[in-house]
Subunit: 347 residues, 4 copies
C-alpha cells in the first residue's frame, strides 16, 4: 500500500488527485489538507465524491504528513512546495510538486518570472522533470518531481519528436498558440472567471509574458541540444477542461509530409498515453476529457514550408493530476498505466 | 433632455442601464457611481462600451446626484435605496429602484425576508410597483418606482390574465418552477458562480425559501383579489441571460383549451412587450435575448385539469433594466417603447 | 467471459456502452453494429476510443449476432428491438433493450403513444422492467430487460420511497418538472439541436404530451398500488449530459420534514448508486457526470404542505447505458457495481 | 425608401440581415426568400422576430425580386450569386453578395478553391471588395459588392496598418491563428455541429487548406503592394457568435512597441467601427457581440521580434450582415453608421 497525502486538496488539481486515487486499492489517502475548508468533509464540499471518499479536510501539519505518507502531492501555488519538499526529503519521503517550484533549473530564472526567492537550490538540482515520455528512467529514481505545467505538456509532446531530430526545424521559428479551458485558472472566486463573463466568449491573455514560456524553452533546448526561443500565446476557451495547442515551425527542408507524419507515429508507437491521429484528422479536446491522453494531429504545409501540430490534453489530467499519478506509478515501480486506463468522457 | 444617474453602474443591471441609455438622444447620463471602481473609465472596465460611453465611475455624492438628475436608477443590493430615495424625494426627483426596498408593501414582511429594518415606511406607501402591464397609470404619476424582481416579472405576466378572472384556477394550486441564467446572481466573484462550476451543469437552489416568494404572492393576491399562496423553486441554467418559468395551476373547470389560449391572446393584444405564441409553440429564452419582451406559451392539459404556462424574459431587460427604462418612459410622458424597440439577438 | 453485442453502437447510448464495456476484462465485445457507419473503424468515428477499442462497425447480421453473443444491447429507436428480442429468445440469449419496446406492459398503450404495432405481446409479458432499486430479484432471472427511460429513472428514484408508503401523498398531486441535457435527443443532425440554436438558451418541449408520461405512471401505480396520474414537463438545458427532475407532491399530512428526509435516507441506505444529500443541500447534475449515480435532495415545505424532491442522474449512465450494465451484472450473477464504481467527472 | 430583398433569408446571415433591416424606417423589406421554408411565416420560424417582422418566406422569383428591389442581398452558398447578380445588373439594380462568388479577382483561383466554374467574369471584374476601411470610395460607386469573408475581415483589419507601411514586416512571416463561433458553420443540420458534439470542446479544422486563405492573401498583397503568403488555421470555439484572430508577424526591425501601437491608433482614429485597445489590454469576442465593431489589441514582443495582433469581430455582423449593411449605407449615400450604432450585448 502506498500512503499518500495531498496538500491543497480542494483546488481543482487537488480534488482531481482525490478522484484518481480515492478508489485505488493499492493507495491509502492519509491527509487531505486545505486552509480554507479545514474541518469540513470533502464529500460535502464536492458532492461528486459522495459515498466514495469520506475524509475531513485538515490544516497542514507538516510533521505528521511527512511521517505518515510515502509520497506527498503538493497542489498549491508556487512558493509553497519548497518547505514541504525540504521536510519530506529529510524524512526520506517523496514529493510530487504540481506547482512551479522545481520546474526551472536556473533559480535566477525562477525568481525573475515568479518574483519569489528560491530557498532550496540543492533540492532544485536533484529534482526531476516529470514528463515520462521524455525521461521516465530519471523519474523512477527521483525523490522530488517537478510535475510539468499544463500548457507546457501539450507543447512538449507536440514538438518532442521534431526537437530530437536537432536540425529538422528552423531555430526560433516556433509559435505556440494555446487555448485552455477555465479550470486552469483555479478555484478562486474572481470576477473575470465568473460564468457570466466567460460564457460564449473567447479571449487572449498574458500575450508575450506568460510564465510557462521559460519552462517550455528550457525543455525544448534540452531536447534539441541547442538554445530555443518560442512565441507563446495562451487563450481562454469557454469550457471547463481541455487544452489545445496549435504549434507552427518552419521546416528546414528536404522532409516530406509523409516523413514527418511517420516520425510522429514512430516516436509515440509504444507510448500508452499519446495517440497520433491518421493524417488529415485533427484532434478535439473532448476526446481526451477525463483521461491522461495526449492526441496529436500533424501536417506539413508544402505551400508555406511549415509543420503544423495540433496537440490536445485534459489540463487537469495529463496537464496536472493524471501526469502526477503516472509519475507516482513510475516512482513506486508500478505499471505506468495503473489507475489511468480510462476512456474519455464523450460526449 | 432627461438627466439620469445610475447608482451602482458596474453591476450587471447597472451596466445594462448604461447600454440602454448611453446612446439615447433624449437622455443625458450624469453620474455613474461605483464603490469598487470609482476613478476608472467605465469603457475600460466594460470594453463593449468603448467608443460609446466615456464616463468615469464616481463615488456616490448623494447631494450632487440628486441635484443634477431628474431620475435616479438605483441598481444596488437591498437596503441601499432607502436613503437615496429619501433624499431624492426631498429634492423633488424621481427614483427607480431595481432592488427590493420598495417592493413589499408590508414593512414587516420586508424585514422578515430581507433581515434589515425598513427606514422609510412613508415612501414605501407612496411607491408604485413598476409592472406597466398591471398598472401603467399609477406608474405615470409615481415618484418612487419599485422595479419588479426578475423571476417575479416572468411569473406575474404568465399568470395575470388568469388571476384577473378571479375564479378560473384553484387557489393555492400554483407551482412556479423557474430557471435563470447566471447574470441574475450578480457580478461578485464567488466560487459557486465560476464558469468552471456552472458550465455543463444544472441545479436547484433556494428551494422553498427564495425571497421572491412574498413579492409574487403579494401581486397575485392583488390581481385575484384573494389571498394566494404559491410554490416557487428557482434553478440555475448554464447561460448568462434569460429566465424561463414553467407555471402550473389547476383549472376550476368548464374552460376549454381554446378559451384559455384566447384569454391570453386578448389580454396581451395591445401590449408592445408581451407576445403570446400560437397554440402548440413553446418559447425559448434566446428569442428575447437583449430585448424587453416576454413571450408566453399556454396550454390546458385536459387529462390532468391543469393549465401550463411557459414564460420567458431576459432577466437583465424585462426582468430589470429594460423594465426600468419602460417605467422611466412612462414617468416622463414618452412613448413607452422609446429606446426599447429591438429585435432579439438570435442566435 | 460474457460475449456482448451492441446494436446501434454509434448513437450516444451505444457508444456509452462501448465506453463502459470496452476495457472490462470479463467482457468480450463481439459485434458493434451501425447502419450509417458500417465498415468504418469506431475509433476513427469516436476518437475518444483511440487506442482502446479497435472494432469495425458492421451491418446487423441478426443470425450471427444472436449466435455469438450471450447478451445483446439494443440501442435503437423504438420498434427495432422487437425482432431482435424474438430471435435472441429463440436462441436462448438475453436482451437488454435501451429503447421503449418492452417498457409499457399494455401493448395498446404502447401503440397509442408510439404509433407502431407491438408484434411481440408474449415477450412483452415476460420482459422485466430494469430498475434494480425497484425489483432486482426479477432482473436476475430475466431474459428480456426493458431498460427504463432517462427522465423516468430520475423521477422513479425520486418518488419510490414515498409511493411505497401508499398514503403519504395526495393521489394525482404529483408534478414532475424535468430538465435534460442535449445528448438525450440523440445523434441525428437536425437544426433544432445545433450548438448555435441550443447554446445560452433554455426551453420547454413536449408539454403535456411526452412519451415518458405513461411509463412513469405505470411504475408509480405499481409502487403505490393505486392508479396514479402525473403532470410531466421536459425542458432542454444547454449541457450535454445530465437530467434534473424537480418533483412536487402534496403530503397528506401528519409527516414532519425530518420524518420525510429520514424515509429517503433509510430507503436508500444500502443502495450503491443512490445518495441522499443532507437536509438543506441540493444536487447538481455535474456531481454525477459520467457515473451511474442518482443524487437526491428532499424537503418538506410546511408553508405549502408539499414535498419537493430534486433528483439528478447522468442521462447516458443511470438514465441509459450505466443502468443497462447494472442490469447485465445482475443477470449474469456479478457484483452489481462491477465496472460501474467511478467518481463523477468534476469539474 | 430603399427597397431590399434578401435571398436566403433563413440562414444565420440572412436572418441577421432581417434583424438589422426589419425595424429601419428608411428600408422596405420586399422579398425574403427561402427554398426550405417557402410559404412559412418567418416570425414563426424565428420567434425573436415575433411582432416585428411579419413576412412570409417565398421561393426566389428572380424576375420579380430584381424588379421590386433597389438592392439584393445574397446570403447563399457560393455559386448561387452569379445568376442573381447577372439579372440584377441587367435591371440596373445593386447586389451585395455575402458569399464568395465575387471575392477572388482571378476566376481561375476561384475555380480551384471552390470547384465550380465562374460564369460571370465581366461582373467579377466590376465587383468591388466591400471592406469600407480599405476603400470606401470604390464601394460608394459599386453595383456588385463582394462582402468579405468573416475570418478575412478580422485578419485584414488586424494587419492593414502594417501592410500599408510596405516594409515593416517580413514577407511571408505572417501566421493567422483564428477561432470562430459556430454560427459561421451555417444552419444545416449535421452531426459535427450538434450542441452535444461541440459543447465544452475545442478543435482545429481545415488546417492548411481553408478557402479563406487565397482571399486573405489577395487583399494583403494589394495592401502591401507585394506578393504575400500567409499561414491560416481556423478553430471552432464553443460559442455561437464571434471570431478572434491571433496574428503573428516578424517585424523588420527599428520599430518600437510604442511606435507600432501608435500606428494602429492613428490608422483607425476616425473609423466608426474599429477600436484599438490601450496597450496591455486584449479584446474578447463578447465585447463586440451583436455589433459591427472590430476591436484590436496590439503588442510588439522585443524578445522574439514579432508583432502580435489580436482582432475580434462578431462573425455575423462585421463578418457578414453588419458589414453588408455598412456597404449598403455607403452605396445609397447614407451615413455609414445608419442602423449600426449599437452597444455590444454584454454579458
Amino acid at each position: 500500500m502506498i500512503h499518500v497525502s495531498i496538500i491543497g486538496a480542494t483546488g481543482y488539481t487537488g480534488v482531481e488527485l482525490v478522484r484518481l486515487l480515492g478508489l485505488r486499492e493499492d493507495v491509502v489517502l492519509d491527509h487531505l489538507t486545505s486552509r480554507t475548508y479545514a474541518g469540513q468533509k470533502i464529500q460535502h464540499l464536492f458532492p461528486h465524491l459522495l459515498g466514495n471518499v469520506d475524509h475531513t479536510c485538515e490544516e497542514l501539519d507538516l510533521e505528521q504528513v511527512t511521517t505518515d505518507s510515502d509520497v506527498i502531492f503538493v497542489a498549491l501555488p508556487h512558493g509553497h512546495a519548497l518547505p514541504i519538499a525540504k521536510k519530506a526529503k529529510e524524512k526520506g519521503k517523496k514529493v510530487i510538486d504540481l506547482g512551479a517550484d522545481f520546474r526551472l533549473k536556473d533559480a535566477a530564472v525562477y525568481e525573475e518570472w515568479y518574483k519569489v526567492p528560491h530557498t532550496e537550490p540543492k533540492l532544485l538540482e536533484e529534482a526531476v522533470y516529470g514528463l515520462p515520455e521524455w525521461d521516465r528512467d530519471a523519474i523512477k529514481d527521483a525523490t522530488v518531481i517537478a510535475n510539468p505545467g499544463c500548457f507546457v505538456t501539450s507543447i512538449l509532446l507536440g514538438l518532442m519528436p521534431l526537437m530530437k531530430k536537432k536540425d529538422w526545424i528552423v531555430p526560433n521559428s516556433i509559435i505556440c498558440d494555446s487555448k485552455s479551458g477555465t479550470s486552469g485558472a483555479g478555484r478562486a472566486g474572481n470576477v473575470a472567471n465568473l460564468f457570466t463573463e466567460v460564457e460564449s466568449s473567447f479571449k487572449a491573455y498574458g500575450v508575450a509574458h506568460h510564465r510557462h514560456t521559460p519552462e517550455i524553452e528550457q525543455l525544448l533546448t534540452q531536447m534539441a541540444g541547442t538554445d530555443t526561443m518560442i512565441q507563446f500565446t495562451p487563450h481562454l476557451v469557454p469550457m471547463s477542461r481541455g487544452i489545445l495547442s496549435t504549434i507552427y515551425a518552419t521546416v528546414t527542408g528536404g522532409h516530406t509530409a509523409d516523413e514527418i507524419h511517420a516520425l510522429f507515429e514512430e516516436a509515440y508507437a509504444d507510448e500508452p498515453f499519446v495517440q497520433v491521429l491518421p493524417a488529415g484528422m485533427w484532434p478535439m479536446t473532448k476526446s481526451v476529457k477525463g483521461t491522461n491522453n495526449c492526441q496529436l494531429g500533424v501536417t506539413y504545409d508544402e505551400r508555406t514550408g511549415r509543420v503544423i501540430i495540433v496537440s490536445v490534453i485534459d489540463n487537469l489530467m495529463k496537464g496536472a493530476a493524471g501526469q502526477a499519478v503516472q509519475n507516482m506509478n513510475l516512482m513506486f515501480g508500478l505499471a505506468e498505466t495503473t489507475g489511468l486506463q480510462m476512456i474519455g468522457l464523450f460526449p
